[in-house]
């Protein structure tokens, strides 16, 4: 394996970044006033001023090579000294992993308050990835870190950290001092430049200790603690990808406004926006054209507090040359990982080496999910199920949204509409189908609700702090205090503004160090609701135990769970979420420190509960909110999208960004959640979704008309049915690809560059970037996102390969751009020549019904060689025994054909190579 060399470079790159603006769309639906921009949040605003200060080019921090020490978890650390300090206060930790990654962390050596660090195993695997042997090229100790691979494939540097000297690290300080303790001695406080919050000219001191927004005031008893840094992607960088979750393009636009990561329940989100959405996987994928080669790399920013990232270019036209990003987070530690590539496959492998591999989903999870807010009764559920059967349309899972509960107390049933839930679900099971119920993390405040009582009694609810101001006991009256004599101004008509009061001197007021903590109450679906502290493993254990079949009445072992609203959504909270100053009783951590991981901990607790409920079974959890590492537990959907063509199109980029973030079990609501798609949009959405959404669910808002496939006119119904039949036919391909994901870290669906990095069109051709995506390495799909009245043909770009075959009629096409006449029966999709595609031709009611049916192998020959290759993976489709070697079957298929293409008879030879051992 390659091992990246690491050195501290001595030169400092200069040059101020050029900002440029991409188009800003007018507001259509989302209420922007509710959500903060960078400028409206004190730490981001402060950081922007920090990085544009005139003296920025002067290096501030020095890494002290002589302080190098080994870390207990592997790697080594250095102390980092600020130019205005005598003793170093920051610690830089470095880990260099054998798979080709460098992790760099910066934290305080002795912080005033604990700086929150994500526990080992929650994001970065525990034990961490294997360490590489390190050769140190240079330890001259400056502030730039460069990374390159030493495997000879690309000798050039491709990633630089802090090359633009934007590092900011705000140490905790006491309210009475502008500077952290023991720095005041260095120089007069008013001249010390330490960080963005302690600047001699006071860059921006608003919001350091409290900050109002949208009618809420964020108390910040611990004061400023933000951090930030820049990263540069070197070479000619045509495109950056990633940064899920944002409703933006695949090739990330360089917006004027930074991309925001702050998990939120955004009502009616819009497209082409850097606004925050429900989840956060702060990863950037870069493509570098370097020294005549094209390579890729990844950069990960691991911080669960609010984070902004700004993409920048050196050139005013925003094209070509290197690309830069600056990052800033509100609190915690600076934790970054550079995945050096050089191929997309290795970047993916490096990411999963760091964060862990995803589990195999049950085959059924890849089938069709039918959801709606809401199926209103047992009869309703039975009718939907039988209507699918009536028209012989395959589907696997029926879902219930919040209305099934007794007053939104989850784990309960509305007894009037669902008197016999167990029977209802058993009837679904009898069709070899599955059932999913929503269980949200907000807990209804209701004495009658056992979950409320138990979580309250265990003290697991997130707390609200009521700060009291007390006299600062450390503030004593100075010995030389001279009482001011108040001389009333005889000419004044108003009383003097500053009145010292009786006695003249008073001790300073400070927040009570032991403030009152009460359970935080917010508003959500049930009315007054409380929010468990899911960061606490004991709370997660309790939560998980609630899914036991004897606890969760009315469910059976075919019942799986949907966690919605887990950002968390707090209807009356700031930005519709939890106040940042709320306290998690687990470690007395402030909510701001863990916000972006709240949803992760919720769905993880659910996953682990289901694992215990049905030992050996593969759990299924769908989550709306997520973080780096969510792929180990949950499926994700892109939240409450809209029945609009723009949302249909954006789902291609959104799904692609998420799969690049390790999250392959992902999809958007087919047809859009809000409003009602017309028949053409519905058909186009299905045609795309069956080919590129690994998680395929039809969902709709309470106030929309029904949209199950069978409610449409016959022509439309038949088109939807044909799409779904194609999905079921291709399930063996999907399943095999998921095995590649679970075992070899390959995203199931991926942007074109992942497979065709050497084809420059895949990094710069608009259609190839935004309308097209690959399913595995074999199928290219081009989404149609306009009505036929506006678009009668599509230009499909087929990347450089040995050729392509139309999935619909087998027609062969050479690589390049092709104009494709459109009809309503299909969207353009092509199998790559030289692939063998495993299929099942018998389409039945559900995937389980097809599990014993024979396979069909479609062979798409490479016309030059007459050969084709593929894979097929088979196991029991539902248990975890696949993890034990011997209980599965993974085959490589090699197919060669001695005759030329076009002849009917040929001598074919197929060899099936067992890859079982090598894959585990």
């Amino acid at each position: 394996m390659r091992s990246p060399s690491f050195y501290l470079a001595s030169e400092i790159l200069s040059g101020s970044p050029t900002l440029f603006c991409s188009q800003v769309l007018p507001a259509a639906a989302v209420d922007r006033s509710k959500f903060r921009t960078c400028e409206q949040g004190s730490f981001c605003r402060r950081y922007k001023k920090w990085i544009s200060r005139p003296e920025r080019e002067k290096a501030l921090w020095t890494v002290l090579p002589q302080t190098r020490a080994p870390l207990p978890e592997g790697g080594f650390s250095f102390q980092v000294k600020h130019v205005n300090e005598e003793t170093p206060h920051l610690l830089l930790k470095l880990n260099i992993y054998a798979s080709g990654m460098v992790r760099m962390r910066i934290t305080e050596i002795k912080p005033l308050h604990i700086r929150h660090e994500i526990p080992p195993g929650d994001v970065v695997s525990d034990p961490p990835p294997a360490a590489a042997k390190v050769s140190e090229a240079d330890e001259s100790g400056k502030s730039i870190f460069k990374f390159a691979t030493a495997d000879g494939t690309a000798a050039e540097d491709r990633t630089e950290l802090n090359a633009r000297n934007m590092l900011n690290f705000e140490r905790y300080r006491t309210p009475k001092e502008r500077l952290p303790p023991d720095t005041a001695s260095v120089a007069a406080p008013d001249t010390v430049l330490l960080d963005a919050a302690a600047h001699p000219n006071g860059l921006d001191t608003n919001g350091l200790w409290e900050e109002p927004f949208g009618g809420h005031t964020d108390q910040k008893p611990r004061g400023p603690a933000s951090l930030g840094m820049d990263v540069s992607f070197l070479g000619d960088v045509p495109s950056l990808f990633g940064l899920p979750e944002h409703a933006t393009k695949a090739s990330l636009p360089f917006y004027q406004e930074p991309y925001r990561f702050f998990n939120l329940d955004v009502f009616e989100y819009e497209i082409d926006e850097p606004m925050a959405l429900y989840g956060a996987i702060p990863i950037i994928w870069a493509i570098h054209r370097l020294g005549g080669q094209t390579v890729s790399s990844g950069f990960l920013w691991i911080n669960p507090s609010e984070t902004f990232v700004k993409l920048e270019r050196d050139t005013p036209d925003g094209k070509g040359g290197p690309a830069h990003a600056w990052w800033t987070s509100e609190s915690g530690v600076l934790d970054t990982v550079v995945m050096v590539g050089p191929t997309p496959k290795t970047v993916s492998a490096q990411f999963h080496d760091l964060t862990g591999h995803g589990p195999m989903p049950g085959l059924w999870a890849l089938g069709k999910h039918q959801c709606r807010w809401n199926y209103m009764s047992e009869k309703d559920v039975a009718t939907v199920d039988s209507m699918y059967d009536k028209y012989d349309i395959p589907y696997d899972t029926i879902w219930l949204d919040i209305e099934h509960t007794d007053g939104k107390a989850y784990f309960s049933w509305n007894a009037a509409a669902f008197p016999n839930p167990k029977q209802m679900i058993d009837n679904i099971s009898a069709k070899r189908r599955k059932f999913v119920n929503v269980v949200d993390p907000h807990i209804k405040k209701d004495e009658k609700f056992h979950v409320y009582r138990e979580v309250r009694d265990k003290g697991f609810f997130v707390k609200k702090v009521s700060y009291k101001q007390i006299d600062d006991p450390t503030d004593v009256k100075p010995a030389d205090w001279v009482e001011e004599t108040k001389i009333p101004d005889p000419t004044a008509t108003q009383p003097p503004e500053l009145f010292c009061g009786e006695g003249g001197w008073h001790p300073r007021k400070v927040n009570d160090p032991t403030p009152d903590l009460t359970d935080f109450e917010g508003w959500c679906w049930p009315g007054t609701s409380l929010y468990p502290d899911f960061t606490d493993p004991a709370m997660r254990e309790y939560w998980g135990s609630q899914f036991a079949l004897d606890k969760y009445t009315g469910t059976n072992a075919d019942t799986y769970i949907w966690n919605d609203m887990n950002e968390p959504s707090v209807f009356n909270g700031p930005e519709v979420t939890m106040p940042r100053d709320a306290i998690h009783p687990n470690g007395m951590v402030e909510h701001r420190d863990v916000h972006n991981m709240y949803g992760y901990y919720v769905h993880r607790a659910t996953f682990e509960g289901l694992q215990k409920r049905t030992p050996g079974d593969r759990p299924f959890v769908l989550t709306r909110s997520f973080f780096i590492g969510s792929h180990k537990y949950s499926a994700i959907w892109t939240g409450d999208n809209y029945a609009q063509w723009s949302h249909l199109k954006a789902s291609i980029a959104m799904v692609g960004a998420l799969t690049l973030g390790g999250q392959s079990l992902v999809g958007a609501d087919v047809g859009g959640f809000f409003k009602h798609p017309d028949t053409e949009m519905t058909v186009r959405w299905y045609q795309l979704a069956v080919l590129i959404y690994p998680f395929l669910r039809n969902h709709a808002h309470l106030e929309t008309p029904r949209r199950e496939p069978y409610v449409f006119d016959e022509k439309t119904m038949l088109r939807i049915k044909a799409s779904l039949q194609m999905r079921y036919k291709m399930l063996p391909l999907w399943y095999t690809l998921f095995h590649r994901w679970a075992s070899a870290a390959e995203p199931v669906v991926r942007p074109l560059f992942w497979d065709f990095l050497d084809d420059p069109q895949t990094h710069e051709n608009e259609e190839a970037l935004e309308s097209q995506i690959m399913l595995g390495d074999s199928l290219l799909v081009h989404g149609i996102a306009k009505p036929s009245s506006e678009q009668s043909e599509a230009t499909v770009y087929l990347p450089k390969a040995s050729g392509w075959y139309s999935i619909h009629n087998g027609a062969f096409k050479a690589p390049g751009a092709h104009v494709h006449k459109l009809d309503l029966d299909s969207i353009p999709a092509y199998y790559r020549a030289g692939t063998v595609v495993p299929l099942k031709s018998r389409i039945r009611r559900s995937s389980a019904c097809m599990s014993l049916d024979p396979f069909t192998l479609n062979v798409y020959l490479n016309p030059q060689t007459g050969a084709a290759k593929g894979r097929l993976y088979i196991d029991d489709y539902r248990t975890r025994t696949y993890q034990d070697v011997g209980l599965l079957c993974a085959r490589k298929i090699d197919f060669t054909c001695s005759a030329r293409l076009g002849t009917r008879t040929h001598h074919a030879k197929a060899s099936f190579e067992e890859t079982l051992k090598s894959s585990h």
Partner: protein, 434 residues
């Protein structure tokens, strides 16, 4: 050669082709074609799908996903049925005889439940037949009543149509008489009135002249001011308010006129015709006669249009539902009381779900344009009628927001052909089920 093969095949007891109804077996015993090619006998039910329509695999699941060829389960002791090919060998027992899952053996084998199913089905059928017979009886009565009513209504219309020319002629006559009388009176009036009116004209002309001179003076004084008429905001508002008041008055008038109309229809001769003329102190007998005649004419016309509307509303094909006229059925859910008043409106407690909009099929009707939902559509209610001797609302749901659906049992939905269907059930395509 083929002949030999066939005869061997046909004579063997194994010749029964799995999944094929007895009456269709012969089709398979001759020769089978699909896609323009003949299918080899060995290809039939060989668990490999050769034909797109599935016809070579009537007894296996090999052609699952198509719906042209269905699997036939004999279901001895119950009713034979056909199921989609996708149901054959999918591990779910669909046929009561288990023939769709013949490969399942031992404990996993499908139990034969045809006897129980047959008994249950025949009990259900018996019950349905009973309902159907009773329903048909009620329906017949309803229809004959409706026919009689229709006839009566038509006769009434005819009567009115017959009487109207006479009445109109009388009215014309009266009008003529009145005109003449008016002319005589006018002449008399002119003689007395003319001098007085002339004097009045003279007076007014003088007044006009004086006002004009005043105006000229005033204009002369204010030549410097703008000619544009200055209107204060208040005045504008007042104008607007006046206009609004006018409109309001007009709209207020409308319900009155309608209520008068109804009064006329219900009470026969109009009384307002007289009352509105109360200004004339002495009632002219001719005038009175005229008003009365106009009233009679109007009430006849109103009655005719009401009858015509009723006839159109309930056409002959829906006579079975005639008993629903002027009737309301109630349904109580845990939250609301629903009231379905046919040919009128439907309500959910106090919320109007819609006005009667007529039948949409032989057994379906709809109430439309109910109260608007917040931000959503106007409420509406679809009614599906189910055969039964009694009249009742069986269920009422809201499948999507503000779109309600009711199932109503009513004899009007009973059809003679259902008898045949129940007595000797036909094999239904899976699409016809539910």
């Amino acid at each position: 050669m083929k002949f030999t093969l066939l005869s061997v095949f046909a004579c063997s007891p194994a010749a029964v082709i799995r999944g094929v109804a007895p009456e269709v077996q012969s089709k398979y015993l001759q020769s089978l074609h699909c896609g323009g090619e003949e299918v080899a006998l060995s290809a039939i039910n060989d668990d490999y799908c050769d034909c797109d329509d599935g016809s070579d695999e009537p007894g296996t699941g090999a052609c699952s996903g198509q719906e042209a060829t269905l699997f036939h389960c004999p279901n001895v002791e119950s009713t034979p049925q056909v199921v989609y090919a996708s149901r054959v060998g999918d591990g779910i027992c669909d046929c009561c005889d288990g023939s769709d899952e013949a490969h399942l053996l031992g404990q996993r084998a499908c139990p034969n439940t045809c006897r129980e199913e047959g008994q249950r089905q025949s009990a259900e059928r018996e019950k349905k037949l009973e309902d159907l017979r009773a329903g048909l009886k009620v329906k017949l009565e309803t229809i004959s009543q409706a026919k009689q009513q229709k006839q009566e209504k038509e006769e009434q219309i005819q009567r009115i149509n017959g009487e109207l020319p006479g009445l109109e002629a009388q009215l014309t006559e009266l009008l003529k008489k009145k005109e003449e009388a008016d002319a005589v009176r006018l002449q008399a009036d002119c003689k007395t009135e003319l001098p007085r009116l002339r004097q009045k004209v003279k007076d007014l002309e003088e007044k006009l002249a004086s006002l004009e001179s005043q105006l000229a003076r005033v204009q002369g004084e204010t030549t410097s001011t703008t000619t544009k008429k200055v209107v204060s905001e208040y005045a504008k508002w007042m104008d607007g308010a006046d206009a609004m008041e006018d409109e309001k008055d007009e709209t207020d008038m409308e319900p009155d006129t309608t209520s008068q109309d109804t009064q006329e229809v219900d009470g026969g001769v109009a009384s307002n015709a007289v009352s509105s003329d109360r200004a004339d102190q002495e009632e002219d007998p001719l005038e009175k006669e005229l008003k009365e005649m106009e009233g009679v004419l109007k009430s006849n016309k109103d009655l005719r249009s009401r009858l015509t509307k009723e006839l159109e509303e309930l056409r002959e094909e829906h006579f079975g539902f005639a008993s629903l006229r002027d009737k309301c059925l109630e349904f109580k859910s845990s939250e609301y009381t629903y009231k379905l008043c046919f040919f009128k409106d439907a309500k959910q407690s106090f919320t109007r779900l819609g006005n009667w909009d007529g039948f949409t099929s032989p057994t379906e009707a709809v109430f439309k344009n109910g109260e608007m939902c917040f931000g959503g559509p106007a409420r509406s209610l679809k009614v599906s009628f189910q055969c039964g001797a009694t009249e009742e609302v069986v269920s009422l749901d809201e499948p999507s927001r503000c779109n309600y659906a009711a199932v109503v049992r009513h004899s009007g939905a009973c059809v003679e052909t259902m008898m045949e269907e129940l007595e000797s059930p036909r094999i239904r395509h899976p699409k016809e089920e539910l």
